[in-house]
Symmetry: C2
């Protein structure tokens, strides 16, 4: 197989584009896909300060690398989740990349910020680890962006990630989630005029046109020393199963994943848009983050604060969490 | 494992219902699922004359058997598609079942009605066999129901069939098809008042709560001598691949298929309803069947008549069909 651009020996075959690429033209191709995505979804402008959520894995380091190469003001943000040696090694990979590229990296730790790690939180609250971890990351990424003055939060979700999430939402017809699934979520603001205050920064996923296999190839070909091991807590994760099913279909018919995802954005996502919760969005009375004001006479408290309070109370009382928050098997 | 009802030895385990059944209670269970479906979707009343599209396979003979047991006025309709020995054997199974049950069976043949078989039509028009076959069956089933005075056309589509179709429509976001996918499609009528004329009879699928494996088990346990072989023309069919992917997910998480299908009906199908073609439905100027009047100055001719005319012309001229109608590989 030859490179589509220069006819030299191809190092990778991208079947859904029916094209092979040599090393340098593959790198160009991936960058072009990212540029196209940023433009298509009006993700950000050259003057925006970008905060990149970095895990030390292939996707987040690849998108950080690309944005730096493209000349964006891109700062990394690493959140230490306290998942034993996995967290140690993923932090090392992030720090090493920042050093090599001379890029700025902000490091925070859940333990230092809030007094617990992801495994502890799971044990204390009974939440499945992935659910507690997601809650913490969303909260901490947004808080860091606001506190450090960034306009845009960038994550390294690739095509396979988004397809697996979409597939899961479709399998259970999670209509609210379907209404919110997009490569760009605009910032949310409280108040108007001079009183306006950003409470959720804009979130973007510029890697949605790049498959998992392609971001791994990009990282390898660019010599990025990323952490290959996966988080030890995701074993048996349903997301993995959805990826497996979609990969089987993709192999039989290249382009299936992109068809599902971009077809959804074009022809179906608007049909789920009205699914906003009835409750108005108000500041959490504990931390000020946006949350929903339910009509139950209670003070509005965000999920993060509720979970944190439960963890702290159970820790004081020497209890572990009942598994009521554990995801039930769907029937 | 024991029967959920009588605690005797179970002959089958229905994992998504978390229940085992002995032979007689499994048969009751399947009938109860059909009764529930007929009622839930208001499919038909005891006085309606039902025409059952019969292929000689497990699903169509099972639903015919159940409807007869339930006391409905259920006549079988077998359409001979002319697919060699497969058609011969499937007709034999249908005739044998009708004889054993003392039920009425109407038999027609594509060759006799129109002068071609499914393989010939495919060769003459360049259409993939499954596509030409589906067109012929829809047309002939409806025509037979109208000519023989039936109010309702019953097909044996099971849960797996409907899930695979839904999954395919979602993968490609075929929004028009999604708007039409339902276990019951009401009749369509031309004209008003005394001039009203039914042109599409009501179509129902009372087996949608029964999985493929369960309808096979029902047929075996009831001693129905159905044809096990599949149509030789469906090899490599995408529908099979969708079934395979969904079965993988079902095995890991029983109930996934039912969740996808019934969740769609409850939470999503109405979102696709407005997708009617702009063109008005009018009678085909050749055969009178409903078709679309496009704004192109041409006389409205239905797909069946167009395909038949093309086949007849190519036959006269000794040509075979160009593969322009062949399904292109989606990218």
């Amino acid at each position: 197989m030859k490179c589509k651009v220069c006819s030299e020996h191809a190092v990778i075959d991208v079947r859904r584009h029916n094209a092979g690429f040599c090393q340098s033209h593959f790198i160009d191709h991936i960058k072009a896909q990212v540029v196209k995505t940023i433009k298509e979804f009006k993700m950000f402008e050259p003057e925006d300060r970008l905060l990149i959520a970095v895990s030390g894995g292939k996707d987040s380091l690849a998108i950080w690398d690309i944005l730096l190469d493209l000349g964006y003001d891109a700062t990394g943000f690493y959140l230490d989740l306290g998942i034993g040696g996995y967290s140690t090694r993923s932090k090392e990979a992030s720090v090493r990349f920042a050093d090599e590229r001379g890029a700025k990296l902000i490091v925070r730790s859940l333990q230092q910020e809030h007094g617990f790690t992801v495994p502890e939180l799971s044990r204390l609250t009974g939440r499945v680890p992935c659910s507690g971890c997601g809650l913490n990351k969303r909260y901490e990424f947004n808080r860091a962006a606001l506190e450090e003055g960034f306009q845009v939060l960038v994550t390294g979700h690739n095509l396979d990630d988004e397809v697996a999430t979409l597939f899961g939402n479709v399998l259970h017809w999670q209509t609210e989630q379907l209404g919110r699934q997009a490569p760009m979520l605009e910032e949310r603001v409280f108040g108007e005029g001079g009183d306006a205050k950003t409470v959720l920064v804009r979130k973007v996923k510029p890697l949605v046109r790049v498959a998992e296999r392609e971001s791994a190839a990009y990282a390898v070909l660019k010599g990025i020393d990323y952490i290959v091991e996966e988080c030890p807590m995701v074993e048996g994760n349903t997301q993995h199963r959805y990826k497996e099913a979609m990969t089987m279909l993709e192999e039989a018919s290249p382009g299936t994943k992109a068809q599902l995802y971009f077809g959804f954005l074009k022809k179906a996502s608007h049909r789920f848009k009205e699914e906003e919760a009835d409750a108005p969005v108000v500041p959490c009375t504990s931390c000020g983050a946006p949350t929903l004001q339910w009509d139950d006479g209670k003070l509005p408290i965000c999920s993060f604060c509720k979970t944190k309070t439960l963890a702290e109370r159970n820790k004081l009382e020497g209890k572990t969490g009942a598994p009521q928050g554990r995801r039930r098997r769907r029937r």
